[in-house]
């Protein structure tokens, strides 16, 4: 692996091609889990694990997978990793598994995993694909946690379950509901796009 390649992958996946903010992928699970910071962290961890190992496996097999059936093969690999993750979690960490419960299915259907498989893993070596997966998952997790922070703070007056609503302000029920994530992710996309365009104008578009 070339020197600096990891850093390039990191910057690209977390900022330039952030899965949520730039590629608008993974929105479905974002709407569902961002009402609590703890849910978002668990979902993010599950996704990083699944996308990294799925990308790694798909990359290992990339020379052997027939093109005609590559998507169904990718789904098979992704589902295998997610179910393995679920089984091991159930056996060794039952409390976390119970908290994760309904999200495991959401991980299999997360478009980010298949997106990385199609866009990166099927034409790059395994180690690069693994890191590409980790960073794509990280970019997703960061966005999730930021949105969850705002939603939990305004919707429940808590952060990670701890009460921070010292002034006893009225909490907003809308923030607990999925539409709030739409508003917040829209605002975030707007801010990030603005910063990116400004940077591009200043830096002469070298980061394209």
């Amino acid at each position: 692996m070339k020197k600096g390649a990891i850093k390039t992958l990191l910057v690209r996946n977390v900022w330039h091609e952030n899965q949520v903010l730039r590629q608008i992928l993974g929105i479905c699970s974002l709407l569902a889990v961002t009402n609590l910071v703890s849910n978002s962290l668990v979902m993010g961890a599950g996704l990083i694990f699944s996308v990294a190992l799925s990308s790694f496996t798909i990359s290992l097999l990339r020379e052997f997978i027939p093109h005609r059936v590559r998507m169904i093969v990718q789904t098979l690999i992704i589902a295998t990793w997610v179910i393995l993750f679920d089984v091991i979690l159930k056996a060794t960490m039952p409390d976390i598994s119970r908290a994760l419960g309904p999200y495991v299915g959401l991980i299999i259907t997360n478009c980010i995993i298949m997106g990385r498989a199609e866009a990166f893993a099927q034409m790059n070596p395994p180690v690069e694909s693994f890191f590409d997966g980790v960073f794509a998952g990280l970019g997703y997790t960061i966005v999730l946690v930021i949105i969850a922070f705002v939603r939990e703070l305004m919707g429940f007056g808590t952060i990670l379950g701890y009460n921070v609503n010292f002034l006893e302000l009225e909490t907003w029920t809308i923030m607990v509901m999925p539409p709030a994530a739409f508003f917040l992710v829209g605002v975030m996309i707007w801010i990030v796009n603005n910063i990116a365009t400004r940077k591009q104008a200043v830096g002469g578009g070298k980061n394209g």
Binding site: A32, V33, N35, L36, N39, P102, V176
Partner: protein
Amino acid sequence: MNRDSYIYTIVFTFVLTAVFGTVLAVTQAYFLPAIQENEARVEQAAILKVLGIVPESDLIQAFEEHVVPVTVGAQNAYAVHGVDGNPDGYAWPLKGQGLWGTIRGYIGVSADFDRLLGLEFVEQNETPGLGGRIGEAWFKEQFQNVPIVPGEEIVYGSGVDAITGATSSSNAVLNILNQTIAELMTYEEVLAR
């Protein structure tokens, strides 16, 4: 070897599915005892909780010490025995349809069937942060010591509050609870004998 030939595609898909399927089956079989034990512990913890027993040290030990399984009709109920040997209360399984999936748990009733001792869920798939809050302590604790009056259903507003923004899940819990109590009352004589 032509990667896109029919034969290769079929053989490849077949082999890959077999390999991954085997890996999953072996892992599942290997972890099954641990998973079942974890699940049994969740059930036991819920039964102890609805009966109002706080385990001093070990959960399994407390369960074996205090709880006597009784079979009533097709149901497995659990009785808790007081110091004098007579039952102090009963735990009864609760099951029904929530908003997204099955809600399963236990209710505890006093030995003379006049009040609830507690309510616990062992399985629920309600929306996290909304209906999922039926699993929070404040919600479940509201049902402690709610009187059971034959022919009358428990309703929200009278000492028990629903969850804001989760009307469907709150109502589902109440319906399941009232059904379970009604069912339980038909077994009152059998259990109290």
